[in-house]
Symmetry: C3
Subunit: 207 residues, 3 copies
């Protein structure tokens, strides 16, 4: 099993668990929990594949269906212990969005889309599973409101394209742009960074 | 007109009416009511067809568009009387999800998807119109929270695949697996069964 | 640059700004605002293209991506001044939905769909960006509840088909049916018309 695949599976596990946690907060039943875990893990890639008119991977290759459902069942059973592995989960999630971003960008390139759209497809792959999760749970998507999350993916995807114009090898480009996503995300969480607020204090207190 | 088609139309009518009832509760205007009726009746199949990259039936064959809009108009006019036919509606709905499940499973088989995905496509056909209805009405989808509804479809779809390995005729397989959906759903409603709660009393009272 | 394209761009700008205004009300961050602006401007056409299995225009031709993002950035910066151009915005929006309706109807005709579906595709092109905007902002779509908005598009699209049976030139048909959308919308806003309420006073006070 390649390192690439292991990382992909770890990322998917962390997405699935994030879906389980959101569904548990909404007191969903076991069926609802599995669906939310699934859309969190697979929703971003599915939306991307619909938009670029590609085959949807999980419908032909069941590996990730099993990974998502397996992770969801384990997460439900050990839900009270999830606090103890919070840091590992954050790390998996961060590596996961880096990888998903690159997968999305590369699928866009392979289908011949312009760079801006490829970066958007990468960001969508990494972030829109969480958007669909939040919509199904009747929340405004969290990545629209706070935290540097999508921004890390956008920057990583952009660096990918800048490096494509250099003579660097493909492996290096992947490692560097993936690391950009990871480093920005870790810095953002460590220093509680978010995008600069465009609201004045007065605007925030209105509502 | 075949029995199959009659059942399909009756199921679609009951879905349409369920959409009307939800839209009325939200005080939607006539346009909103028609849209909600339509997505409730046709949304599950549409999502399935998008995922398997098939032609969307109602866009070429208008029969079901007329059925859904006709049922919606009648339901709005006689909305105060709908209580009297509640039991018929429940029966139509139950037969409807059984039929939609089998239609979805068979479309998946025809397109060469693995059994697990076919069962998912059947369940999606039967249940996701209601999911889209609830999202458009700004509610957490009811089938994620309570009631044995999707579960009946999953079990019926699974039985379909198990019977495919026997020497039973196709008609028998359809009848038996469809009956499984219907019986489970009727038992669940009659005895007020739901999926086993995974929440302790303490968890339920938190929130 | 043709008049057609200028109108299209003005309409897209007004959709983008309407997205910005909704996102600002929800106190979204800059990333969220851009996404909401984008789905408001491009969501209806994207949904249409998914349903008719056509290429999604903005993924190959970036003009509208730049227009939407440019309008969104300007709208955020001058958000306190937007009140002064309210009337221009309304006019752009109204011309925009007229144009989007006709674009959608014509795409449907080109793909060989029946008239009823073509009118639905036109209405979807004009109105469903706003529906997706409202769902992402956790609101019941405003066009399902009040205002003559979709209705204007439906009537304009229907007139388009009626005129196709006459010997009028294509340009005339476009101008007349587009004007129908614009006139109905302006009359509705001027005289505060909405679809006839189907609710009795008693029903409205229940809730």
């Amino acid at each position: 099993m390649s390192l690439f695949l292991i990382i992909d599976i770890l990322g998917t596990i962390s997405f699935s668990i994030s879906g389980v946690l959101t569904a548990l907060k909404k007191k969903m039943d076991p069926f609802g929990i599995l669906i939310i875990a699934f859309v969190t893990g697979a929703g971003g890639g599915t939306l991307r594949d619909l938009l670029i008119d590609a085959n949807i991977t999980w419908m032909r290759n069941l590996t990730f269906v099993y990974v998502i459902f397996g992770a969801a069942v384990v997460a439900v059973i050990f839900r009270k212990k999830l606090g103890y592995v919070r840091k590992s989960l954050f790390l998996f999630d961060t590596i996961g969005i880096a990888l998903y971003t690159i997968v999305g960008v590369e699928k866009g390139i392979a289908a011949g889309f312009p760079p801006l759209i490829c970066v958007a497809l990468g960001t969508m792959t990494a972030c829109f599973g969480g958007v669909i999760r939040d919509i199904l749970c009747n929340e405004i998507p969290v990545i629209f409101r706070k935290e540097i999350y999508a921004t890390a993916c956008i920057l990583g995807g952009t660096v990918y394209f800048l490096l494509l114009k250099t003579s660097l090898s493909k492996d290096f480009i992947v490692i560097i742009s993936g690391s950009i996503v990871i480093i920005i995300r870790i810095l953002a969480v460590t220093f509680k960074l978010s995008l600069p607020s465009i609201y004045s204090k007065k605007e925030m207190s209105e509502e």
